[in-house]
């Protein structure tokens, strides 16, 4: 009876057991791994090849090997405005999702009781209505004939407007990405053993200290996952700003769509995509390391 080693049941010792164990591991990661190889790595290779090409006469890709596309990006760093705009928008959106989503996730996980599943389902049902229709509904709600005008009347400003401003975009973003923040948080908080919280309170810790030292560390994996799942797609988002922001903001997503669809310059778009992916990978890695530093974690198989 050894604890702390990977156990696979009776007969786990010896070569036969180890081979079986390795086989099990292989089978487990095979499907996802195969998908990644064929549908992620291969397309990325294609994109990288494209990034060294040139625009074909009528648009698209023509084979070549030039560094022009990368040169254009690095040489025009003052044209990095879309990137910084997207960045601030994504950060604001992520914080918004966190502020709205964390209490909700906590509520469902700890106070939901037997109705937890119902709460979760109700959370996601609005998103089975088309994204576009939902966003257009926000156009109505925030429009001058409804909320926009109402707030304008209250504060006495005739030219007040919610639509077309960063506020409208923020509302739209938080609305659209909330489940992606709530689900990971819920999934980790739900596992939290309530006795810990009670014990902490019994030992005289304040509510805030309990939250900070008991709840938050447990929620941390969910928090990281949630913020990454929300922040990253927001960086590429352009439809919500286009509709609710009245097209007044030019973002990374717009730039990519312009390259691939309007200008049909696939090599230029591919180069931008490669740079974006590299920068984002760096950001995510740094973020994960930063949040996890000092935490001792061992991956121990539960199988």
């Amino acid at each position: 009876m050894q604890s702390g080693t990977t156990r696979t049941g009776a007969g786990s010792d010896g070569l036969g057991g180890r081979i079986r164990s390795a086989l099990l591991t292989f089978v487990l990661i095979l499907p996802a791994g195969a998908w990644y190889l064929v549908l992620l790595v291969a397309p990325l290779v294609i994109i990288t090849i494209f990034s060294f090409g040139v625009r074909a006469k009528n648009g698209g890709y023509a084979p070549a090997f030039v560094l022009d596309n990368y040169g254009a990006i690095l040489g025009d760093l003052d044209k990095a405005a879309p990137f910084t705009t997207s960045l601030s928008m994504a950060i604001a959106g992520t914080i918004g999702c966190l502020l709205v989503g964390l209490p909700l996730a906590y509520f469902i996980a700890t106070r939901g009781g037997s109705r937890k599943g119902l709460f979760i389902l109700l959370l996601v049902i609005p998103f089975w209505t088309s994204f576009l229709i939902r966003t257009y509904s926000w156009l109505i709600v925030l429009g001058p004939e409804n909320l926009g005008g109402f707030v304008g009347d209250v504060i006495g400003d005739d030219s007040f407007r919610i639509l077309g401003t960063p506020l409208a975009v923020l509302i739209g973003l938080v609305y659209g990405y909330l489940p992606l923040m709530v689900f990971p948080l819920y999934v980790t908080l739900e596992r939290m053993d309530r006795t810990l919280v009670e014990a902490s309170k019994d030992l005289g810790a304040s509510r805030w200290a309990t939250f900070r030292q008991v709840t938050l560390p447990i929620a941390l994996p969910g928090l990281i996952t949630g913020s990454i799942l929300v922040f990253i797609p927001m960086m590429g988002e352009y439809v919500i700003p286009q509709i609710l922001g009245y097209g007044r903001i030019y973002l990374v997503g717009n730039a990519l769509v312009t390259d691939f669809l309007e200008a049909r310059n696939w090599p230029a778009g591919s180069a931008k995509a490669v740079v974006l992916i590299a920068v984002m990978m760096f950001t995510v890695t740094f973020y994960t390391w930063f949040v996890n530093r000092g935490r001792r974690g061992r991956e121990v198989s539960v199988l």
Binding site: R55, K57, N58, G59, G60, Y61, K79, A81, P82, Y136, L139, G143, P144, E145, S159, R161, L163, G164, Q242, I243, Y246, G247, R248, Y250, N254, A255, T258, F260, L261, E262, A263, R264, N265, W266
Partner: protein, 396 residues
């Protein structure tokens, strides 16, 4: 550019009178022939269906060579074909599956084709993309002997720069880009780009919407300066750039899809756009003052086309469709449904007077010489840079 021909064409047409009776008679004949055809082919579940039942309609349709397949895969804008016409086609030719797939803009269509997508029979791109598609080999060269009804297409739409030999596309419908405005708010008609410019910089700052389309937005400054809207001349574009950057801070929004919402809520009074939402806005009593004008300096004339894919899986059905859709009575029904002008002069005789008289839909003779067809300039880097700069300065 066949602008002169276009002018002549419209001069001739405006002299034709239409009356409801002939239109109804034509559609009655179409209906009858379709009914008869349906009866005769109702037993068969597909496969061959030769020439439709005897019809006394003015547009006889020759039997396409070969058996007509059971399906047709259409790739088109949303709701761009009169559903009645689809039903009649299906009944008449025994095509049981009319697969109607939708794209949201030309760029998607092109990108998909360039990526290698295939499987469609007929598509409806806008004319300026046709030359590129031909060069890339996406389109089938049409055997015009199989489309006898193309004789009804007005010569003004044949031999245009987009397809000099007329072998790759057939015209579908056409229209213009111009100024949409709420006359109640502006108090007077807005009839030139210059006026739009002045109003946007002045009294209506923050109340103007432009469609989010590079080719259409460039029309305004270039035409104001008296240049071709397809100009790729460095100096001309530079001048256009100045005008665009003047306008940018005063523009409320770049919006191709919901500008009618902004016009109806009076958030915007002016719009550089198309005639799509016009009929509905005018039908609504609250927004009945909405008007459209083709600016006096000139504007863009767009043409949507029918093309057949080079690898169309159902060529016979495709030819049947192309021939069928150019019957004048069918063309007239298309115009009634879409609200866009038909390129067939025969068909115009069957269109209701109300639509014919509407200058937004059928541009009057005086306007035609001012119109210029667009050319695909999406590869021009200067234009792209100006466009990106313009977009970043909107509303700032």
């Amino acid at each position: 550019m066949a602008q002169r021909d276009l002018g002549e064409y419209l001069a001739r047409i405006s002299q034709n009178k239409v009356n409801r009776r002939s239109f109804l008679a034509a559609s009655g004949l179409v209906g009858t022939s379709a009914f008869l055809a349906a009866c005769s082919s109702s037993g068969s579940s597909g496969g061959a269906s030769a020439a439709p039942a005897a019809s006394a309609a003015p547009a006889a349709s020759a039997a396409p060579a070969g058996d007509i397949e059971d399906s047709l895969f259409m790739y088109n804008w949303s709701e761009y074909i009169n559903p009645d016409n689809i039903e009649t086609y299906k009944a008449e030719f025994g095509v049981n599956t009319f697969q109607y797939d939708i794209f949201s803009n030309n760029e998607e269509l092109i990108a998909k084709l360039q990526g290698g997508a295939s499987g469609y029979d007929i598509a409806a791109p806008t004319a300026e993309y046709v030359p590129g598609m031909v060069e890339e080999g996406f389109l089938a060269k049409l055997d015009l002997s199989r489309i006898p009804n193309q004789k009804y297409i007005d010569p003004a739409f044949l031999g245009l720069d987009w397809d000099p030999t007329n072998e790759y596309q057939l015209p579908k419908d056409f229209g213009t880009t111009g100024i949409l405005y709420r006359e109640k708010l502006t108090g007077k008609p807005v009839e030139s780009w210059r006026e739009l410019y002045d109003l946007t910089l002045g009294e209506f700052s923050g109340k103007t919407v432009f469609v989010d389309s590079m080719g259409d937005v460039f029309v305004m400054p270039l035409k104001m300066l008296g240049y071709s809207l397809n100009s790729v001349d460095k100096a001309e574009l530079e001048e256009a750039r100045k005008i665009l950057l003047d306008l940018a801070p005063h523009i409320l929004s770049l919006d191709s899809d919901t500008y009618q919402v902004k016009l109806s809520s009076e958030e915007a009074a002016l719009c550089l756009g198309w005639t799509g939402p016009l009929l509905e806005l005018r039908a609504n009593p609250d927004t009945a003052d909405t008007a459209y004008s083709v600016p006096t300096e000139g504007s863009l004339f767009w043409l949507d086309t029918w093309v057949m894919m080079a690898d169309a899986p159902h060529p016979n059905a495709s030819y049947a469709w192309l021939d069928y859709i150019h019957r004048p009575e069918i063309q007239a029904l298309e115009t009634e449904y879409n609200g866009y002008a038909t390129p067939s002069s025969e068909a115009r005789k069957l269109v209701s007077q109300e639509l014919l008289d509407d200058p937004a839909i059928f541009p009057p003779e005086s306007v035609m010489p001012l119109l210029e067809g667009a050319v695909d300039t999406s590869g021009n880097n200067q234009r792209l840079d100006i466009w990106a700069e313009f977009k970043q300065k909107i509303g700032s």
